[in-house]
Symmetry: C5
Subunit: 313 residues, 5 copies
């Protein structure tokens, strides 16, 4: 089981001296003291609108946004990532969750065939710090970059400046980086994803979320991911959970991403919140068991199936 | 009849501590102490120019902008929503109205076939706070977002930052969210409208105004609206009044939106101000009777017909 | 003859308390104590470049920009509207003129067939206030909006913020609003012009300059203008003078615009400055006689012809 | 010979009181006490890249940027106009030159057939004032506007604000105004150039540099220039030197531009710096002899040929 | 061997007096006291993504970003150029390297056939100064300009302002200037590259990195480079290393660029880091031997081959 002591947290040089202690605290909180990140992605109400929250195959409870917080507070997660406003509306009733404020978002209505994607910054970092100052447990921020979009420069600039500001204030930063746009013909190409991971470290992010690369005839997705993890350098790589799949397959993939692919965590949304509260909670525990405590797939499945419990702190 | 005590007002976490009391006061004023919102929409002089104020079927009095304020001060409304300048020109003579400053507007001259819609922010929040400081009874702000427009990112960003600023200063925020643009093929699709409602809570709005969804063979508009209301979470959903319809039909729809659809209010413009002062005043009272005091349609119609009066405070 | 006492000036609520006295002073100065506005438009050296100032049918004196100031100081005008720089170059020698700083301008070189019109803000309000602080008699600002242009949002935003800033500092504001762009098929349509007038009051302008609407078979231009004047509410409507026409026709139109059309003034440029100094001065007096002192057309013509003088103060 | 005493300098009203003395000093320095401007244009290394500095017909010395400063310090010029950075690199060794900082520039690589021209502001006025504060002899700024470009509004706005800021700080301002873009069919049309001159005075520039108009059958270029000079009003008009021509022709044109065309100076670049140091120095003296001391063409030619020297101070 | 004493450093006039000492220190550090610059380019993880760091012909070690720093700290380099974030993540462990923060970057995904290149500024200079203030050894900044791009104006403006800010704070500035875009038909044309060099001095850069010009029938690349070096004036010209070539050829080219072409250094990335640590270190030494100590190609090759060592300080 990975354990991290405060002195072992590597603090980037752009964290101002007066913010180092808070950065270490945030880093340890987000990774539950392990250096591994279980990111619970709750930012899809803008990205996918209600398509991820209501409809066939989705538990009816998921239509109420509070479902996200109920899972987050009952389950075992590292951080709950959501837009500033969403957090502001619910955080008072769920004070123990570690929040990661997603700084940009777009809907899926305009397709890439019509226009390249641009997800714009929605509020200043000052607004996030003000939220933290009112007592909300904000440990970091997130930002999505679509590399290869004709608006790539907008997103690189917003992310670049936000990281400097966030680190200066002791917040950790997670980048979501997806190659996308008319210029991108194969979003899951392993070399491209490794390149995306490398962009993250150049911008100075603490973590980067990428899609798992497409397997080739020679190499599995997890093997290819290992190259991306290495290319990310000191930026920890976490993998996107993707669409809802059967739990065993999901946990097995996650295990391989970490133990073969060098990922130091995961970022999962739909796979969790589209389930009933009880099942979703158990899935967060199973995911965290693998991510934070190096459980085997079999043991994690036992957690998911409820035959074993998993607590962490 | 819904009643709300000050302690029951749920204050979002981004309201700064020093602004909490004023936020609660504004929330109670806007909802007349009920938690329900009767929004009287007076921002159409830009959106629809004079087409909503002069012409066949419109009372001649509506051509004078003061008609809006006469109705607002004599009738029963929660807030009068209008542009900053309009309010600044008349507020001194109508000091008792609760004003909601609409922060953006566009005309209808450029159609979506020519260019996707962008309604730009017209003034800073500082200008609104200055107006409040001179004694005008400003309780909140409003902003329109056209999701699916190629300019969606502009509007999401302006709204995102404005909400942070407004809450910090104790103002309530109402978003108008309409899916619109070349990418949007069915603006009234229920799933799309529920998605729009979800975007509002992610941005942290207190209320969101959406169009009533189109009924399907299986479900009525009000039933479908219930899904959107739930998807809006702690952001209260109110329905757009739409074009002028016969009063009984209008009140009946409103009743269903609230009692079946989970709406906590309405936003009505043309249906009110295109009538004579006396009739318009009675309509505000009938609407408020349903919205604020849970009247039946029949009783509300009696108010509209003048056989019964409705006072509220 | 319209007379206005200081106490009767209606001060918009966004004029800051400390600026109320200066606003009243500026309003009275601009309207010469009558509430009516004789705006002498000297901003066309950018808009029409030299085509309005040199050539067939234009007095040779008009080529020298100082001609504008000679007329303004010798004739009877309410305000001389011009760009900040033009005023800065001549104001020291013409200190008694009331100046209105035109905040935006464009040339006529790019036609609407090539690109929709955008007239951009040329300087900050701070620069205007600095000019006022050096002793120049600046009483207000002006801004042109092309509604229906694809750049409409730029202009609405710049105007919206400028009005807030100008009122806060006690300056009056005049908007020029013209529907123009590929989306506009009939710029002189009466309903459209009434709509433009309504936009002005929503933005909070003190005066709006519109083109006179095109007469229909049923109604004269002045009768249709009356609808626009009413739609402008507390924003006073003034009519554009248009191209140079024979004086009697011009004065007769002006008389009707005021007495039938509800205009509270006029905005005239070419009709004045394209004449010799003496004739131009007499025309300003004739126009002011109608605008400020309710002269009949016949009496005003006598002023223009020099058979009678008109002084005002 | 034109002479100007400090009291005769007409100070624009937007020069702040505390900056009036420095403005007068700068104006006198730039015009060498005459009110006439000999502007030595050294900004073409961006505009024309190396095509103006190296190649057939160009003295080999011109390839080294220091050639520009050697000429400027040895010859007789009013101001040396160049980009901020160029001046910063050489000014310490050429402290006696009056510098005019060119605020915008573009290369000639993108042709008007591909995109309309936009020459963007390259640094803030603060950066220029900081340079002045370190002791560099900066007397003013320059800015180029391409009227009729689809980006005209960008340039009008940048120039408009810069002039206000520069005057406030006591700097003189020279505008370069050229009609250019897809909408402009005849850049040298006399009426168009007179219009450009008029735009300069509306923006409040102290000097405007225009191209000499194309002669017509009825009128010479210099005669037509007289109309533009008058249209420029209190903004002094200077003529662009254009491409390298034979010295006698050049000096003869300049004489006519001043004595017939009403120009109060010239702006010359290539014609000077493409020559050897000695010849270039003599040409600056010949030009200054005409511009600053009303020499005849014949006498100025003697200066250029070295049979007579010309010193000025 | 070139040696520079502190008093011989030519300090641009825009370095503020209080920053002159630090500028001299930075200049000497970056050039290792020689006035020559060995720039080790580590910014390609964004520009070329992982294609420069992983794949056939690239040492496997290059996939880990720390490889860059290991080389930089063990080898002999002037400055290591990289993005702010990359430096922030590793600088604490490699404190002795001189860092040059690359201020802008883009990926290669969108090709010029799709859209002209724009590499946007990624963070403010304040963020860089803050990094310096935490103790990171930041000696300067870098910025890439694509002249001839339709977005040229964006880059010229960002660079123009950054140079002023950086010099004011005592940082040195390196520009990367490449002509590129639909308008550019021959990026390696000698006259064009000389023009690019001239733009750098106009902006006030201390160094400019250009591609070596294409040889003609008459002149070698190095001979043509001499013209560009001269056109750069006081801005030192360094040559891009380009793609990986055989070491002898590379060192021979470098020697000629300096001794024939007038370059005062080099900027090399791929050629170094795509090799194993040991070989890469020896290459930095060989390059530095030529650049900083005027070694012959033969002697430098001995350094590269390990038969001789090269230390410098």
């Amino acid at each position: 089981m990975p354990v991290l002591i405060p002195d072992a947290v590597r603090v980037p040089a752009d964290v101002l001296p007066e913010a180092r202690a808070i950065y270490v605290e945030n880093y340890l909180a987000a990774t539950r003291g392990t250096g591994r990140l279980m990111l619970y992605a709750c930012d899809q109400k803008v990205e996918h609108m209600n398509d991820d929250f209501f409809g066939e195959g989705i538990d009816r409870a998921d239509n109420d946004p509070e479902h996200l917080f109920r899972i987050g507070s009952t389950g075992v997660v590292g951080v709950l990532a959501g837009q500033r406003g969403l957090i502001a509306q619910y955080a008072a009733d769920y004070p123990d969750i570690n929040y990661l404020v997603k700084m940009n978002s777009k809907t899926h209505l305009v397709k890439t065939t019509q226009d390249d994607p641009y997800s714009a910054q929605l509020y200043s970092l000052e607004a996030v710090l003000a939220l933290r100052d009112t007592g909300v447990n904000v440990v970091g921020i997130g930002y999505t970059i679509y590399l290869g979009s004709e608006y790539e420069s907008n997103m690189l600039s917003e992310a670049g400046e936000l990281i400097a500001e966030a680190h200066a204030a002791g917040l950790i930063v997670v980048l979501w980086i997806y190659p996308r746009g008319k210029a991108v013909t194969d979003e899951k190409d392993a070399q491209l994803i490794a390149g995306a991971a490398g962009v993250a470290v150049c911008l100075g992010a603490d973590f980067v979320k990428v899609n798992p690369p497409k397997a080739t005839e020679q190499q599995s997705s997890a093997e290819l991911l290992a190259i991306a993890s290495e290319a990310a350098g000191r930026t920890g790589l976490v993998c996107a959970g993707g669409s809802t799949v059967e739990a065993e397959k999901f946990l097995s993939q996650l295990y391989d991403q970490i133990h073969i692919g060098g990922a130091i965590g995961n970022a999962t949304g739909r796979n969790i919140h589209q389930r009933s509260l009880a099942e979703a909670v158990r899935l967060t525990k199973a995911i965290s068991a693998i991510t934070l405590a190096d459980y085997s797939v079999e043991k994690a499945l036992a957690v998911f199936n409820g035959s074993e419990d998993f607590q962490f702190d």
